[in-house]
Amino acid sequence: MAQVKFVSATRMYAKNALPAVDALDLDIKDGEFMVLVGPSGSGKTTALRMLAGLEPLDGGRVEIGDRDVTFVRPKDRDIAMVFQNYALYPQKTVAENMGFALKMQRVPKDERARRVREAARLLDLDDKLLNRKPKQLSGGQRQRVAMGRALVREPQVFLMDEPLSNLDAKLRVQTRSQIAELQRRLGITTVYVTHDQVEAMTMGHRVAVLADGQLQQVDTPRQLYDKPVNQFVAGFIGSPAMNLQNAPLTDGGARLAGTILPLPAPVRSAAGQAGLRELVLGIRPEHLHLADGAGELRGEVMLVEELGADALLHVRLAESGNQVVARTEGRTPPAPGQDVTFNVRPDDVFAFHPQTGARLAG
């Protein structure tokens, strides 16, 4: 078991291009489940491949368990990786697939078979499947074999590159919790790449949000949700996404949809210091509370999306005419065309710098 460290790790694919990963600094603790999340092209997969040794570094270094592995070959890094498409050897049986790395390490046959069976049991893989070829397995089984191939090696670090993206929605949710549970039980340091923020939030002990090769924020899921450092993180974490609206500054707050939302003094002074006349307000859909005509924010319902437990209202705000999304209780949502008002607790309003995107906070 080991901690993992990225120190100004940089990767450039072409000489004059922007770096795919730009001076990444990231400390991953021993036994931690770290999720790298970001949109496509954010550099999350590249970062993982740098850790795996499949991608050379153009600057900085990577450490596993206090050992600088920047120039160490993949097989000598004591890691195991689960690939997005599983990358199972099609001509080998499940058992051969899982035991291949051990065979390469010249582990005796009996020991190999024992460890393969053990991993199979851990993953609820039927013994009968061990002699099948990958082609004869279902998607979910293949995924577990890929996991098993990593488990068998008993590595210091697990690397997972979107291992659930080829599963259907139901299986994905199921496997998600299984992987998280397994990781907790084994306590092996895990670096997990995904573009799905729900996966990131539910699985990670901590989540690193990347965009354009830059690390935006690394924090616990709770902190990312409650205290995003900038507009990107705020908009990326949470589903549906946070409503972001430009709002002109006034004396006591900011003007939005026919009302003045009060802003805390530190935010106001920060905005004043930056010389801003306008800022970006962020309100999560679940923080827009329907109020029977007595609310502050006014708007008209354009569309209602029923989700069962709750409903999403697409609302056109008064004055600006911008659309926002509000989450509301599902039983009796207002109908399209209806005028509605919302209340917002001042604590639930985020304010961002309109140019830099940084959160303005006291």
């Binding site: 499949l54 097989k75 690939f83 997005q84 199972l88 790395a101 390469m104």
Partner: protein
């Protein structure tokens, strides 16, 4: 599967045109197919005729079949067949042995100037072999390999290698890179990566490549004719030798040609499943 009853639709004019189009193409396909097959059929039929019936015009279709020609063929074929088998098998094995690593170095793990390398290989096929036969002959004489099976093995290997490298390379490019990365992480060295991961995946491609090499080597006449006499003469040489200076020979020649074609057809038939998969490897994911 449960059968869903479908009510037959009235054949409208659209449908009719479609149908007649299909029938039209069907006829064209049959005509072309028969045109290709006709000489082969003629060869096989003639092989069973007595020499006197072979050369009549119009050709006779009613005759008493005889195996006399085949008996004659089998009696003289032995050494030729052996030479052909050796030259074909050994050269094809050598092509695979050299072609796989070469293709690897031009695709999966490309060398620095892989484009130049690739072009060099194919450029060797641009020179007409006739232009090289003089020097080849002189060299063969000097290294005492004239009329030797080793000479044919070397030349057939060289002749088939460029095409084989190009083919194998294209198959290797189809191997998903994740698979190779997984092997690298699992600790497979370069040789393991090739033999344990890449080769099983591209095996249909290797079979079709081998088959093409076998066909080319088996049917090769020009080099054999000019560089061998008796010690290494191959099956195509045998065909030529079955044409006598005088007298009738069509039936005999047909029998010899039929026998000479059988191994290639047999190998092709055995390999046909892999062949289709191999040749269409790039087409379907």
């Amino acid at each position: 599967m449960t059968a869903v009853p479908v009510r037959a639709r009235e054949p409208g004019p659209q449908k009719f045109r479609e149908m007649s189009g299909k029938v039209g193409w069907g006829i064209v396909a049959w005509v072309v197919g028969i045109a290709f097959f006709l000489p082969v059929a003629w060869m096989v039929i003639t092989a069973f005729k007595p020499e006197s019936a072979a050369e009549t015009w119009p050709p006779k279709f009613v005759f008493s079949p005889t195996l006399a020609q085949f008996r004659l063929v089998f009696s003289g074929m032995g050494p030729f067949l052996t030479h052909s088998l050796i030259a074909t098998t050994v050269s094809t094995l050598l092509v695979l042995l050299l072609g796989v690593p070469a293709a690897y170095a031009l695709s999966v793990n490309p060398i620095k100037h892989w484009r130049d390398g690739l072009f060099f290989f194919i450029s060797t096929k641009m020179l007409p072999i006739v232009a090289a036969i003089g020097p080849l002959y002189v060299i063969a004489v000097h290294i005492h390999l004239l009329d030797s099976i080793w000479l044919l093995i070397i030349l057939y290997t060289a002749m088939n290698l460029p095409l084989a490298i190009w083919m194998i390379r294209s198959f290797m490019l189809e191997v998903p890179s994740e698979l190779l990365e997984a092997a690298r992480l699992d600790g497979a060295g370069r040789i393991r990566e090739i033999t344990g991961v890449i080769m099983p995946v591209i095996s249909p491609g290797l079979v079709s490549t081998s088959l093409i090499c076998v066909i080319f080597a088996w049917n090769e006449l020009f080099l054999a004719l000019n560089l061998t006499v008796t010690n290494a003469a191959t099956m195509p040489m045998f065909l030529i030798s079955s044409v006598p200076q005088e007298g009738l020979y069509i039936a005999h020649l047909s029998a010899a040609a039929t026998v000479a074609s059988v191994p290639v057809i047999l190998v092709g038939w055995i390999a046909q499943r892999s062949l289709v998969r191999g040749l269409s490897m790039g087409a379907i994911k």
